[in-house]
């Protein structure tokens, strides 16, 4: 009993450490003064200012536009590529997978500067399109790694069974292969979207001052000093993540249950 209590206290302290800073941010986002230490009454003025700030509005637009476009393109290219890679074998597959791992394992800062060098070397002006290309590049590997296990689990005869029953290769792909690997595709797409929304380092090196995402905006605001608008932004982002993660968790736990039912 005593041990159990100690365990719970220990976990509580760890969670306090993890959540206290976030909670302080959230609480002070409603504080009616610029102070981060004294409570001056409840206000929503930072939220209103946040939504009226043209820089933040623009950054939000770019963040979502880039996340949507890059995750969509990465999901399509990655899924098709995964099917192609799956039918490779021997050393070629190992080589392709190892190169595919580079953006995941390489430090973000190296990925960021290497792409920046490429764009400048190729005389492409940094901005929206370079940032989009960079995001697609680091998103595809995650999509491939989410889809490949599903392809491996796939009964290799499934495709043949569809052909056997009269389906053309294209019909078999859309009616059989795609639905069977859909969980992997959805996971990959969600992962790509979140990584894109969250990215700072790679975006930082591959855009111009006119086109910034939220992370870059937060970085430059935090460098110049404390700003209660960031607190308001934190609260909104925290809640968004909370909701998104809930959806993903429900989805995966449903999948686990289905697996168990087999």
């Amino acid at each position: 009993m005593v041990k159990n209590a100690i365990n719970r206290i220990y976990l509580f302290i760890i969670f306090l450490f993890l959540y206290a800073p976030i909670m302080v941010l959230i609480v002070f986002s409603f504080n009616n003064s610029k102070s981060r230490s004294h409570w001056n009454g409840f206000t929503l003025r930072w939220y209103i200012e946040l939504f009226q700030d043209p820089v933040i509005k623009k950054a939000l637009f770019y963040t979502i536009a880039i996340a949507l476009l890059s995750s969509l393109i990465a999901t399509i290219v990655g899924t098709i590529a995964a099917i192609g890679i799956h039918s490779f074998n021997d050393w070629k597959k190992t080589l392709i997978l190892n190169i595919n791992y580079i953006p995941i394992l390489n430090p973000d800062i190296v990925t960021g500067v290497s792409l920046m060098i490429l764009f400048i070397f190729a005389r492409i002006k940094l901005g929206f399109w370079t940032m989009l290309l960079a995001h697609i590049t680091f998103n595809i590997p995650y999509v491939i790694l989410s889809v490949l296990p599903k392809l491996k689990q796939l009964n290799s005869h499934l495709y043949e069974a569809a052909l056997d029953l009269g389906a053309t290769p294209l019909y078999a792909f859309f009616k059989v292969i795609l639905p069977e690997i859909r969980p992997g595709i959805v996971t990959g797409a969600l992962l790509a979207f979140t990584l894109s929304v969250d990215d700072f380092v790679i975006s930082f090196f591959n855009t111009s001052s006119g086109v910034t995402n939220l992370s870059i905006t937060i970085f430059s605001m935090a460098r110049t000093g404390i700003n209660p608008k960031i607190n308001a932004l934190s609260t909104i982002m925290f809640l968004t993540i909370l909701i998104l993660l809930f959806i993903v968790n429900i989805r995966t736990s449903k999948e686990v249950k289905e697996e168990k039912a087999k």
Binding site: N155, L158, E160, A161, L163, D164, G166, A261
Partner: protein, 347 residues
């Protein structure tokens, strides 16, 4: 000629410089239950996949009712397959699985429903239409896979070790049912297995394969009673295979003893393999048999006892309903028509 539904002419297949099939010639008659039997890696599944259209032969032709279909893709062949691990579509219900091929043929909804119902009836799973595939047992999934193939009314049904994943009791039940379905529908079944008992139970014709070559084609009785070589004999059932020398027609020497036999046409003093089934070894408690030996071990097998009897030069496996105690002295004989003489396997 017309009774041949499928003909394989000089088929060979090479994968990455490995020769999996070497010159296969096979004629399959209408409405027969033909089994491709052999150990793993003998080429039986490749042969089936060539008939199904999933592999292209390196050389040779596949004829269907006399017409060359070698390069026809699987979805244009009037052949359906039951896959090894069923290959059911887990994102579709039982009904949608079975209706998959019918929908492609664009049949109307009422017809599809009716056909699905009949197919489920055929495999004894009436009322399972709306179940999810994952909720079914292995045996039930197997039946759905069969129903999904049969509902398309193929001329030929290909079955690739369909019972491999089932337990013994279920397997035996399914063997009987498959045979019933084949008779009821009157279509050709081509069945691949490595289980000789399964092959003997169900087939009209057995094709024994090894290393990409056909060893023997015949009825189950032929194959069992008159195996063409020592490999077939050993694969079809447990056998004593003893090196011997053919003295002249109907006279063979093995274990330093001369035996009468019924085989002719070998050269004088030609080395041969002598095959004797365990149940054909006659045991005598005294020395009245032709070879003297000692019972080395006794194992109870249910219907009979299995005994190892060691003579001077060979340890015979014998099956008998009578038990001869371990270490007892016995003698054995074999009737002339139970001695099978085979040409030495060329290795």
């Amino acid at each position: 000629m017309a009774e041949h539904i499928i003909e394989l002419v000089d088929i060979s297949k090479t994968f990455d410089s490995t020769e999996v099939l070497k010159t296969i010639n096979l004629y399959i008659r209408k409405n027969e239950f033909l089994t491709l039997l052999g150990p793993s890696g003998c080429g039986k599944t490749t042969t089936l996949r060539i008939i199904g259209g999933f592999e292209q032969p390196t050389t040779g032709k596949v004829l269907f009712e006399g017409k060359d279909i070698t390069s026809l893709p699987p979805y244009k062949r009037r052949v359906n397959t039951v896959f090894q691990r069923y290959a059911l579509f887990s994102h579709l219900s039982v009904e949608e699985n079975i209706a998959f091929g019918l929908k492609i043929k664009k049949l109307d909804k009422a017809t599809i429903k009716e056909k699905v119902r009949n197919a489920l009836k055929l495999v004894n799973l009436e009322g399972y239409e709306n179940r999810s595939v994952d909720s079914l047992s292995g045996g039930q999934q197997q039946r759905i896979a069969i129903a999904r193939a049969l509902v398309n009314e193929p001329d030929v049904l290909l079955l690739d070790e369909p019972l491999g994943a089932l337990d013994l009791k279920l397997r035996q039940d399914m063997q009987v049912e498959l045979k019933r379905m084949q008779k009821q529908l009157g279509i050709t079944f081509i069945y691949v297995t490595h289980d000789q008992e399964e092959a003997l139970t169900m087939s009209d014709t057995i094709v024994v394969m090894k290393d990409g070559l056909i060893q023997q084609i015949g009825t189950p009785e032929d194959i069992y009673n008159e195996p063409k070589n020592a490999f077939v004999a050993d694969f079809i059932g447990e056998s004593n295979i003893i090196p011997g020398i053919m003295k002249k027609d109907c006279l063979v020497e093995f274990c330093n003893t001369i035996f009468d036999c019924v085989d002719k046409g070998f050269g004088v003093n030609e080395p041969v393999d002598v095959v004797i089934r365990p149940e054909d070894v006659e045991i005598y408690p005294d020395d009245s048999g032709k070879l003297q030996g000692i019972v080395e071990s006794v194992t109870f097998k249910g219907v009979h006892y299995e005994m190892i009897i060691r003579t001077d030069s060979f340890a015979f496996t014998a099956h008998n309903t009578l038990m001869f105690p371990q270490n007892s002295k016995v003698s054995i004989s074999v009737a002339p028509d139970n001695i099978h003489i085979m040409k030495k396997a060329v290795n």
